[in-house]
Symmetry: C2
Subunit: 373 residues, 2 copies
Amino acid sequence: MKTDSFHPPLRTLMGPGPSDVHPRILEAMSRPTIGHLDPAFVEMMEEVKGLLQYAFQTDNPLTMPVSAPGSAGMETCFVNLVEPGEKVIVCQNGVFGGRMKENVERCGATPVMVLDEWGKAVDPAKLEQALEEHPDASVVAFVHAETSTGAQSDAETLTELAHRHGCLVIVDAVTSLGGSEIQVDGWDIDAIYSGTQKCLSCTPGLSPISFNERALEKVRQRKTKVQSWFLDLNLVMGYWGGNAKRSYHHTAPVNALYGLHEALVMLKEEGLENAWKRHYDNHRKLRAGLERLGLRFIVPEDQRLPQLNAVTIPDGVDDAEVRARLLDEYHLEIGAGLGDLAGKVWRIGLMGHSSNPGNIALCLAALEDVLNS
Amino acid sequence: MKTDSFHPPLRTLMGPGPSDVHPRILEAMSRPTIGHLDPAFVEMMEEVKGLLQYAFQTDNPLTMPVSAPGSAGMETCFVNLVEPGEKVIVCQNGVFGGRMKENVERCGATPVMVLDEWGKAVDPAKLEQALEEHPDASVVAFVHAETSTGAQSDAETLTELAHRHGCLVIVDAVTSLGGSEIQVDGWDIDAIYSGTQKCLSCTPGLSPISFNERALEKVRQRKTKVQSWFLDLNLVMGYWGGNAKRSYHHTAPVNALYGLHEALVMLKEEGLENAWKRHYDNHRKLRAGLERLGLRFIVPEDQRLPQLNAVTIPDGVDDAEVRARLLDEYHLEIGAGLGDLAGKVWRIGLMGHSSNPGNIALCLAALEDVLNS
């Protein structure tokens, strides 16, 4: 059986990620591969670190992309910062808080769950209560931007509460980085991870992380070895660290990093605040249109992520059929519901390069057509 | 500070990987990104699985690329197949056996080391002795093609010995896949992992693996949860599995998979046996030239990998200076020694697309010039 080269259909990506990747980034990824220890590559790695510091708004020296998707970035935070026997408070208001719980358990630690309704932000009062009830907790983990619901939590307040009770924080910023405000230093976040395929508009496969000195000190003081060799920051830093002599750890995904570099150069060119504003302005345009179509948001207005718009599927409408028609007739991808929200909501992404008026017009026109015919 | 787009220098890659990536593969990677649950993408995933089965010479349904580099493929094998308290025999004859030991320990298991000299194949007699001395061992792990030395071990014999003593095998084929013979089904290998940036000539970042039914049964029968959420095959298979309804696990690295697909299509076009023969024929050409230059191989002739040629650095020659001059004057990358062999050997790769007469001529001429001037 002969297999031919794969030529993907052209899509407009307005789901929960990947978002549309700008041709500049695709072109960057196709540049000739060089060695992962080549001096020219090492110099580019330094630039990637600097550009990520800008995106995260931090001076943390340990700011770098993990060589695997966002889930591995999450795991990097947990396996390095959580030791067996510890107690970790996990705020869950969607799918990804549940994944955090899994991570805590697989580290041999005990999760204490703070549950909020899916579609709502994490309630700081509930976190405070949990912190008071569990003075032996060492880490608080929460999702800044819940990709499964489109709810945005107040990372600054949650971090401050955690610190007041002597806990480190682990923050999921997979969907927020580059799309809405994050101030890693300003909010004093200890450990944060993100993904490349959302508001950075890069291809999926890398997970930017940043650890502050307090978090790193905990990694250095561990009593047990990090359970993952691949994600052990003590080792990874030998390669990504700032020292002149880099030691081989694993082979970096060279061309994927070309792409991330270009995506971050584009973010710098636009300006971070401008990118946040663009995401917000386009969200308002989309919102007006969706409301005109009678679609209702599941997240209260003041807790909405501009880049991820979850709306309730109207009664009597066939979820799968609508999405299939959007894909077939308009080559438009929107996201299905995830977990408890499967079949109940659509998730419309306006992330990175996908966040533009043309996409909004297409999405609204296509939805109107498909819902009414 | 403004950061510009990164334009890599043009190199000829004759180190231990990444190897030169064919323009067809680079071009494939720059095709427009589509969603990781798009029906067209899911179809391509099925093709990747089928093509990997061909490359591994197996019918194992669980044959797929892990969404991270080779080290994560190694970790996937260990964290899924090794439970705390088990005893694992690790054959070490170079750097990567040492990494296997690290993996065993981080799984809470006990490694039993079978040590061979770096630059020699694993000695089956030593493995047999260890198996007899440790009847309670459950897994044997070894490296088929040691990238740090260029030694090739007899995977078929080692696997047979392990099975005779009731052990599963984990085989590192990072540098062999596509470059020298591997028969996963023919040799009855239980679990194997590789990388994309060696003899498949793809960019680094993915790790093809294959598990047979015996290995999968052990994963299903585990008493403890797999310590890595990201690498837990029980979950990963929900996405990569053959079932019609795929469930989201993590976001696949879409464009990297376009590249792997194209690399595998090219391997199929060439024919696996032809690729093995090409690697061997080119190795003989290079060998003749290196011997003419007075360079001596560190691996005995009958144990040499054709795709990775490690030679002793002549007395009085400055290792770093030679490699720097090759890079600066000829844009040619060859590999330094790793671990105990640092400063003592050069590793000259003839992998995938890099394995061609033009590269050999360049390498020999450049080495001759730099060593004599």
